[in-house]
Amino acid sequence: MTTSAFPEGVKRCSGSQFILWLLPAFLVLLIAAYAMFRVWGFGLNQTNMNDAYGFALWIWADLAVIALGGGAFFSGFLAYIMGVKQVKNIINFAVILGLVCYSMALLLLGLDVGQPLRGWFIFWHANIHSMLTEVAFCLTIYLGVLIVEFIPVILENPKIQRIRFFHHLSHNMHEIMAVFAATGVFLSFFHQGSLGGVPGVLYGRPFAFREGLFIWPWTFFLFTWSAAAVGPLFTASMCRLTEIITGKRLVKDEVYQLLAKISGWMLLTYIIAKSLDTIYWATVTAPSAGFSLMSFYTNNPLYGIWILIAEIVICGFLPALILITQKGRENRRLLFAAAALAIIGLCINRWVMVLQTLAAPLKPFDEWFMYSPAWTEVVTTIMPVAVGIIVISLAYRYLPLFPQERELNP
């Protein structure tokens, strides 16, 4: 008797159709590989970064991708620690998405350093006062946790299950998943926060600098909170996208609605805190260094006050209000439109905290520093999407990701 490589009781497309579907993603990957070869081979002069933009597109991508991948830790927290059973129907998908996000973020960080072969210095010669050190430690260990969380999902492939040891291993790992999930939550809290601390501690950069609690600037808490709020929305949106592409229902609406409800309230509280933080920064912190609010939003071709309004009102309060109302959640289109807005808002937040921080002139005789990424940066930043498509497609095809799939597709 031969065992099918596909999960039990589900239908999958033909092999040739599958390969055809993956082809564009592999093409992007090929171009990205060439860009990576250029950067690692010839150095960072292959990018459009310069001394004013030591941090640029890649650091933004890191911050955004890690925040969106935060769906893995927060869903894990809900499913395994808070015991919210519904979330278990989407947790496998969240873990895979998190794994893609985190591994890609680390790859981009590896590209971004001038001396990649010295990358290990950050661990060996660690300066524990640096937010980046905290990021590196937590990120790397958490990637390990995600791999550990992903292993039992791989082991559930029917062919692998036939090997008894792997059958037992996946069972035993499921049994103590709460331990791994708890470690993941602990690590995520710190690295999501430290990523916020990266700009927040820069007291030489009044656009980013924030006061805070002990060693942690307010951005530390805001970044963690926003990642926990928007991460699950990203997981849900990508899951919905998978449904649209596969033409199948994979997760019940009530799961989406539950995630949306939790995220909605998280988002609302986050955006209120963010607004208060912005008001304090604009009226106290920045003026103490001689800057008015509008000095950060004028005299340049891109960063107008619109970006602040877009982040806080259109991509903050608006989606939060949609998601906390039952009517908003029950309308699937409205729910995912709100999720998309929230995701855009999070990306804007990460962008301004890194790039606008560096763009704003500090010396009165400086001009705004503007930057546009080189093709090498753009294509490697798109790479996580291609890798995501490949990994999720493979996982969906061969692994039982969605416990509700059989029931929803009889």
Binding site: F123, W124, H125, A126, N127, I128, H129, E134, F137, I141, G144, V145, V148, R164, F165, H168, L169, H171, N172, M173, I176, V179, F180, T183, F186, L187, F190
Partner: protein
């Protein structure tokens, strides 16, 4: 990272940071080791169980 490195300083922050990192690694490592050992035992016991049957 370790006390013999130049940048090591003997103070609380250093212990907390490295302690937390070490703790997280230990928990994950111990959990994984437990699962592997238990799975080996389970597999062996299962084998013995099925051979008893014959």
């Amino acid at each position: 990272m370790f006390p013999f490195a130049y940048e090591w300083t003997w103070y609380l922050g250093q212990y907390l940071f490295m302690g937390a990192a070490g703790f997280a690694i230990s928990v994950v490592g111990a959990g994984l080791t437990f699962c592997i050992i238990k799975s080996i035992i389970d597999t062996v016991q299962e084998d013995e169980g099925s051979s008893d049957h014959h």
